[in-house]
Amino acid sequence: MAGFYSAQTLVAASNKPDYPTIQDFLPPEILFQGTPFAINRIILVRIIATVVLLLVLGITASRAKLVPGRWQSAVEWVLDFVKNSIVYEVMGELRGKRYVPMITTVFMTIAVFNLCGEISGLNIAATATITMPLVFAIWTFGQYWGAAIREKGLGTYLKEELIPEGVPAPVLILVAPMNLLEILIIRPLSLTIRLFANMMAGHIVLALCLATTQFFLFEVANKAMVPLGGLMFVAGFAMTLFEMFIACLQAFIFAILSTVYINLSYPEND
């Protein structure tokens, strides 16, 4: 935290805490400004996280042995968790097999990107712009439409989704557009906004706690406020742990909802 905030703290007048703003999520472009390859702070975090993820997992995989060490066991546990507790739990092994790589990629990438928000020096989740969650959501969108067209055919899928059996005709006027909206927009958008909003809120709460800690402990002349600063530090500490949990939880939710959406495209009885 310190690196990022102290720079701003020095500039800011010390009559109020350096509260986080939405500008944290719209940082200025720092490289290749104005081009489609412009890089801002969050994208830099994303690139660093990607490089670290690829390096760590790449080295793990290339050194993988038949008898695993501790680290390899941990990685294998995660792979096993995604495969068994997310994909096979929802879809069963027969259908799930082809989606294991996708859900594993989604889960591990989102988890690592989310955790960047709790790493000192990065201090913001790599998923904390709308675009990254949206790209993942569009991937899920493509997969469940693809599965529907492959398994049922587009006509049957739309018919089943828009005109569910047993719904009386007048109600269909409501149900059909709602379901169309659901499969076209609400599913991907809910995935996107849930993840993005969680990361944004997490960052704001965490930054708020630490900014007030800094303010009350070091910048306020009135030393009576020091206990409040201490309290805010404890709160910041607790929120850091909580945000780590949220980072993993959101990755899990994204992964399991993607699996559920894909599974919904399959026929009821197979």
Partner: protein
């Protein structure tokens, strides 16, 4: 808190460069996972499963072999026990045979020795009797001749007379 309502909406509008970088990164990560990371681990998992199954089969085979060997040894052991008891029985039978043989031989020998002794005693007695008879006869004849003062001419008379006398002697012996 200066989350301005006017700029808030811009949070939800994807920037072009953000889309570009998100896609580049996602594609790189996806390729890495699909082409390298997951196949590699799948291979490890498969190999491990094969190893474990192979190990289990091997263990089962080893156990079967051990059981076969155990059965074989037990069979051999019981065979050996039977053979040992047979040998012991044979030895016992032979020993009793030898003893009874020895006993019967000893008995036969004893009988024979007794018989021989008896025979030799009898023959010696006979001899003694014969020689005694001759000597006693001659002695008696000579004595009688001397007493009678006459010579007994006929040896037949002589002989019968002696015999009669001895029988009388014998009879006298018996009567006592």
């Amino acid at each position: 808190m200066t989350i301005a309502a006017a700029s808030g909406i811009s949070l939800f509008i994807p920037q072009t460069y953000d889309i570009v970088w998100s896609l580049i990164i996602l594609v790189i990560i996806a390729v890495f996972f699909y082409k390298f990371f997951l196949p590699k681990f799948q291979a490890i998992f498969d190999e491990r499963a094969a190893k474990i199954e192979g190990g289990m089969a091997k263990a089962e085979k080893a156990q079967q072999e051990a059981e076969t060997a155990k059965k074989k040894y037990e069979d051999q052991l019981s065979e050996a026990r039977v053979a040992a008891s047979k040998i012991r029985d044979d030895a016992r039978a032979e020993a009793s045979h030898i003893i009874s043989d020895a006993r019967s031989r000893a008995e036969t020998d004893a009988t024979q020795i007794t018989a021989n002794a008896q025979r030799s005693i009898e023959s010696q007695q006979q001899q003694a009797l014969v020689s005694l008879r001759g000597e006693v006869g001659a002695l008696a004849t000579a004595l009688a001749g001397k007493i009678l003062g006459s010579k007994l001419e006929s040896s037949d008379v002589q002989k019968s007379m002696i015999d009669t006398m001895i029988e009388q002697l014998n009879d006298g012996k018996k009567e006592r």
